[in-house]
Amino acid sequence: MTATIIQFAQICRAAGMPVSSAEVLDAMGQLEWIDLAEEKQFETVLKANFAKNLYHQAIFANLYNYFFHHLPNIKRTRRPPAAGKGTLPLRGITRDSATGGASREELLDLLAWDPLAHLDLLLKIQSADLDITQLHPSCFAAGEGSLTSARSNRMKARIRELWGRDFPFGDESLRLYCQEYLVDTLPNGRPPGAGKGAHSLVPRPFHRKPARRGPANLGEIPFQQLTAAETRAVHTLIARLAAKYKDRITRRERLQKKKLVDIRKTIRKSAQYEGLPMKLAWRKRPPKKPKVVALCDVSYSVWAAVPFMLNILYSLQDCFRQVKSFVFIARIAPVSDIFARLETMAAIDQVMDSYELHYPRSAVYGGETEKVPLDADPEISDYGSALAEFLEKFSDTLDRRTTLMILGDGRNNFLPPGADILKKMKEKCRRIIWLNPEPEALWGDGDSEIFAYRPHLQELRPCSNLQELAAFVSDFLVHPFYGNG
């Protein structure tokens, strides 16, 4: 029982649920109090200890069903290797087939669905340094989201690498395992083109999310996937959020005025009344407003998140001493003056329009005109040179009360990351906070240099949707503990 629960806890962790050892121990202790023959009670104990928010409860229900109901059946029946219709003809993939053919097309179809995690897996299997039976489900958790240009580049690199090697035909069992795992971990548990019902055993967290249909919680939709109407709705929500935050800040300032008794002043005042403390004096602290400098990567992979970040920052600018903003791909450009001249949304419109990027379908900026896609992007993300340029030209914007916020995915196209430059910037400001619009599972993968920057950051957070952006603003800019000073 202990081993099973530990194994289940590991599966939960792999699916992104923060299950601590203390919670595993608690659950085990609580099992003594219930009737183990009653499955509902057993499930409730695990759920009460492992899944501590609504989102995790939904994941838990899936995992529980998979782990305790489907998996034992699979083990018992020793599922035959996937073969025939609905499986991948990996056998046919040879170096020769790289030049064309149906097999290649099918593999490319697969890659187009959810490429990176599987390509990495294939490479590891080929290197023969991975025991496939020991595979952890987290291997498959990474692949989701649309293909950004950075991911597309990485995918091409992996395909080239894969094509450069022989697929291990010699080891038939390895091939079959590989085939099964690939099929099982495909979106919805089946390969593209396969009929309904095949391989639907894989729990939901390991699947690529299906396309959204109908209304969903706007706060949870990734910025990249917002439609034009949703983008406008999110901007409206941001305006409401900003009003709420302003209200919170004002209320807090009012409360702060009457928080602590100033003993020294009270005693001094009591002298007027023969030492009797007739009037209490309250300590007053002038509100300390932070200064915010924002550096936003406007390359394709991050582009979608930038307008929302700028909108919320400038909507709250009254609450800060100063807001300065810069955008960059490889060269840095100050955009604060645009915000000084124009109303926030008009300024965002102008900033976003000034970059010759392929507009995503959500584009609601720059008059909503489609731009002609460029064959070759003359500027690719180069954080090292952008940071160096910032330090050289604009370092005077940083001081000991400045919060420096960087919005970017840290994908540096294998160029020098310039982490030492970030260190110098850290010495000049109060703190650096990095918001990464990429899912955490992809951090550090391929050309992502995010972990090289991490030692110099006070906080590194994902920021892929409105909910995460709002939580960040609330915690770091509005909240009294972090926000002031």
């Binding site: 923060p18 601590s20 203390a22 919670e23 608690d26 202790g29 609580q30 109090w33 219930i34 009737d35 509902k40 009670q41 409730t44 104990v45 759920k47 009460a48 200890n49 899944a51 501590k52 928010n53 609504l54 409860q57 209304p215 919170r248 209320r251 807090r252 409360l255 928080k259 008794v261 003993i263 009270t266 009591s270 030492g275 009797l276 403390p277 209490l280 939580a471 609330s474 915690d475 909240h479 009294p480 503990f481």
Partner: protein
């Protein structure tokens, strides 16, 4: 009194007018026997606070409630020194203080003498206990309800950690005060913000969603004994249908009960469309929701002309 088993928990809760599901009873029972705090989340009006009140009644314990809000601090939640009282006592005891220090030759010796009396001014006598301190110093076991904890600030959560893990509170001037009896702690949250992992780790977690139609019918019948079961089913079916819409605020259990009360007061035994529309404001508290539900009901009922007739028909 304690809960003896899951079945006993269900029974005792029912005796106190709370229909609990197997899951709710299991978690409440475990929280009772293991002494772990229970964090309950769920949409407003599903009975989170009511659950805490019921647990207190079922266990025959006093309920101490801390209502959280933005800006709540230790002065409002744990304790506060009564500065004015301390200063007044100092004035009143001026003569006595003179007597104590009069015999001393030097200032240092006088300060030492005064310092020796410090405990007189930093004692329980000058502390105003707030709900958390009251709960752990109570001579009898209590139920402590920390209501709407998500409304408080994150640093207030940090203040709670010591209490929730060790059932003790540290007051710098007095030292650590340990609980005389471990309280049954229930925290409720509407999920307006995510609670920290450190707080969650110390708690058992229970998510209470809108009840199943069967459970809601049981609740209606428990609160309004004598109501016709068929009528109760109709009420619940109508509310469940309204809840399935994309509304700003879905009707909660208490609103179902209010609506039942309204319908009973109107001496109705059926729920025709026009009656639903006339009493809809009991269930929906936003203008947009009212419009949305009306539109849904009219569409469901049939052609617009048809229900206009119906809605205008005398009842």
């Amino acid at each position: 009194m304690e809960f003896k088993s899951i079945e006993d928990t269900i029974e005792k809760m029912k005796q106190n007018d709370y229909i609990s599901s197997q899951e709710i009873a299991t978690v409440v029972f475990l929280a009772g026997v293991t002494g772990k705090p229970l964090l309950i989340e769920g949409p407003p009006g599903v009975g989170k606070t009511e659950l805490a009140k019921t647990v207190a009644r079922a266990l025959g314990r006093e309920l101490i409630r801390l209502q959280c809000y933005e800006g709540i601090d230790e002065g409002k939640a744990i304790y506060e020194w009564e500065y004015a009282k301390q200063l007044l006592y100092t004035q009143m005891l001026k003569e006595k203080i003179h007597d104590i220090v009069d015999a001393e030759d030097s200032l240092t010796a006088a300060v030492k003498k005064i310092a020796a009396q410090e405990n007189a001014f930093f004692s329980d006598h000058f502390i105003q206990a707030r709900p958390l301190l009251k709960a752990i110093t109570s001579p009898e076991p209590v139920v402590l309800l920390i209501d709407e904890v998500d409304k408080s600030d994150p640093e207030f959560e940090a203040l709670l950690l010591e209490l929730l893990s060790d059932y003790q509170i540290s007051i710098p001037e007095l030292g650590t005060i340990r609980a005389r009896h471990i309280p049954f702690v229930i925290l409720t949250s509407n999920s307006s913000r995510e609670m920290s992992d450190t707080l969650k780790r110390r708690c058992l977690y229970l998510y209470i969603d809108f009840p199943s139609p069967e459970r809601e019918r049981d609740i209606v019948m428990l609160k309004y004994p004598g109501i016709d079961e068929r009528f109760a089913n109709k009420i619940v079916a109508a509310v469940t249908d309204i809840r399935s819409l994309d509304l700003k605020k879905k009707p909660c259990i208490s609103e179902t009960l209010d609506w039942t009360h309204t319908l009973l007061a109107l001496e109705s035994t059926e729920i025709p469309l026009d009656l639903i529309i006339r009493t809809l404001s009991v269930l929906c508290k936003h203008r947009a929701d009212l419009e949305r539900v009306k539109e849904h009901l009219l569409t469901k009922e049939g052609a617009p002309g048809g229900h206009r007739e119906k809605t205008n028909a005398p009842h």
